[in-house]
């Protein structure tokens, strides 16, 4: 199977008043369909910048200097090239940290799903919108899809809200889903459920998942591969087991040592 997402030598710089700040420094990454890659690192390591670079939503003063991002063989991001408007929402879906803020509070879940579907599926009928909305919420293991569809975000529990937000990201059947710290705001039990949900989605739908988190343990549970980031560089990149059991880099060893254990 060929690579779904390839990031090669990606270098991203922010132009600040005083100086230029390198946010990403020659980042390499590969992800296949049906795989989960965990991007792990502390705050400011560049993991969110990486996630945003893939969908072309960097801040205005931030530019791609070198390298490229390709999705299914097509170059979408390179210096001076930005074709992300063709993939945003259709080939790539994104889930964010806090679902209570990533849904429009004034719209029912139904309207928000319908909006994304209408935008990306040409000439979709009303019945088809309804069918796919119910279908995607059922895929999210929501037992009562119609109730959720007819709810405003604030009427749902945190877990339901996050699942509705994930539904919003995958309803257009993207090949790649980017989850940016999307379990951080949830309690541990809900976190586990969301993580399990991601695993089944990846297995069932064959999507590729780029899972950005600072939680190394969570990543080790969920991910096939792990990329450890520090100061804008990928310092370690490999299969999850290998990274966790035989860390090659000092930084990863320190990160692992920082996890509290029972003993």
């Amino acid at each position: 199977m060929s690579e779904l997402l390839t990031v090669s030598g990606l270098t991203v710089t922010a132009r600040l008043a005083a100086d230029d700040l390198r946010l990403l420094d020659a980042v390499d990454l590969e992800l296949r369909a049906g795989q989960i890659i965990g991007v792990v690192g502390e705050s400011g390591s560049g993991k969110t910048t990486l996630a945003r670079a893939v969908v072309g939503l960097l801040e205005r003063n931030v530019r791609v200097d070198q390298g490229a991002i390709t999705l299914a063989g097509q170059t979408v991001v390179a210096p001076g090239v930005d074709r992300t408007d063709r993939i945003r929402g259709s080939a790539v879906g994104m889930v964010f940290q806090d679902a209570s803020r990533s849904l429009n509070p004034l719209m029912k879940v139904r309207t928000q799903l319908a909006e994304v579907l209408r935008r990306h599926v040409r000439d979709i009928t009303r019945a088809e919108v309804e069918r796919r909305s119910v279908e995607v919420l059922a895929q999210m293991r929501i037992t009562d899809p119609t109730r959720v569809l007819d709810s405003y975000p604030h009427q749902l529990s945190g877990g339901l809200r996050q699942r509705a937000a994930i539904g919003l990201a995958v309803v257009t059947r993207p090949a790649l889903v980017i989850a940016d710290e999307c379990t951080t705001a949830l309690d541990v039990t809900t976190q586990t459920k969301v993580v399990e949900l991601f695993r089944t989605l990846v297995d069932e739908l064959g999507i590729g998942l780029l899972f950005v988190t600072h939680d190394l343990m969570l990543a080790s549970d969920l991910c096939d591969r792990i990329a450890v980031m520090s100061r804008g560089r990928v310092v370690e990149h490999g299969d999850a087991d290998q990274v966790l059991e035989q860390p090659q880099q000092e930084y990863t060893r320190r990160l692992l040592a920082a996890i509290p254990s029972w003993s």
Partner: protein
């Protein structure tokens, strides 16, 4: 003690507070609707006294006072014209001025404010300079300059109301837009491939609706007050047209002999502006589904 006590919300008062918006919107709209209805429908009934002059019956007190006659329920002015008839037709003009005056300020103000707040960059810089320039100009000077140049007429009055009102609206919607655009769902929409136009029209604007409605109602009040002030200076509505503001102005030198000429329009302006502002407040709470009980 006080700092602590406001945190202790008992369930009953919480429930009552969340119920209030709907009922208060109704109870505030009712008198406004009645006023508008009366002012627009009364002339059609033929019940109002004749509007003409009658120099034999000048400065007659209202019907409920000594020396008054029910033929003129609110008395007559110095030309013997019926005050109630004037009051009703002036009310019509006042309400129209309030609504149109608010609209001409709100529409361009909101548009520019949202553009500046959403797109930032040079758009924001240009619009912000315009806002600051407008706010630096004293309103009365702007009004005088325009009216001196173009004469007083309704279109000129609306131009003055638009020019004096848009900047405040633009500044408030700009900052509200700045806050909304930073919210995560806006980023989520962009990540989901929504177009900028759609984000602004379908998502940013509805999230500003509370602010816009509040601004709008406040602007209705402001428009009525500005019109009254201009009319008081003889710059707003001029005879043969009359608004409550111009009635107030023409009644002021009669205050010692015939207070009722100025009193009723003055009272009406006060109550109307108060009701409109309270309604704006209630709508603000009502609009937000999170504050609404379902």
């Amino acid at each position: 003690m006080r700092a602590v006590s406001h945190l202790q919300l008992d369930p009953v008062s919480v429930r009552r507070a969340s119920r209030r918006p709907r009922t208060s919107v109704f109870w505030l709209s009712l008198p406004l609707a009645v006023t508008v209805g009366l002012v627009f429908l009364l002339p059609l009934t033929g019940l109002l006294p004749d509007a003409g002059q009658n120099l034999d019956a000048t400065r007659q007190p209202p019907g409920f006072l000594d020396g008054g006659a029910w033929a003129h329920p609110l008395g007559t002015d110095k030309l013997g014209q019926d005050v109630l008839t004037q009051f009703v037709s002036a009310g019509r003009l006042t309400i129209v001025i309030g609504l149109v005056g608010a609209l001409v300020a709100i529409v361009p103000g909101t548009l520019l404010g949202v553009l500046a707040g959403y797109f930032r960059g040079w758009v924001d810089r240009v619009i912000s300079v315009l806002i600051n320039a407008q706010l630096a100009l004293p309103f009365i000077l702007v009004a005088l300059a325009i009216i001196a140049n173009r004469g007083s007429s309704l279109p000129v009055l609306f131009l003055v109301l638009a020019l004096t009102g848009w900047a405040v609206c633009a500044r408030v919607t700009r900052s509200a837009t700045l806050a909304v655009r930073e919210r995560q769902f806006v980023f989520g929409l962009r990540a989901a491939g929504a177009s900028e136009t759609r984000i602004v029209l379908r998502h940013i604007l509805p999230n500003l609706a509370g602010t816009i409605v509040a601004l709008g109602t406040l602007q209705v009040g402001t428009a009525i007050l500005v019109e009254s002030a201009l009319s008081f200076l003889g710059l707003g509505v001029v005879p043969p047209r009359a608004s409550w503001g111009s009635m107030l102005a023409s009644g002021q030198d009669e205050l010692s002999q015939a207070w009722w000429i100025a009193f009723f329009p003055g009272l009406a302006i006060t109550l109307l502006v108060l009701l409109v502002n309270l309604l704006g407040d209630a709508l603000l709470t009502h609009h937000d589904p999170r504050k609404r009980r379902r």
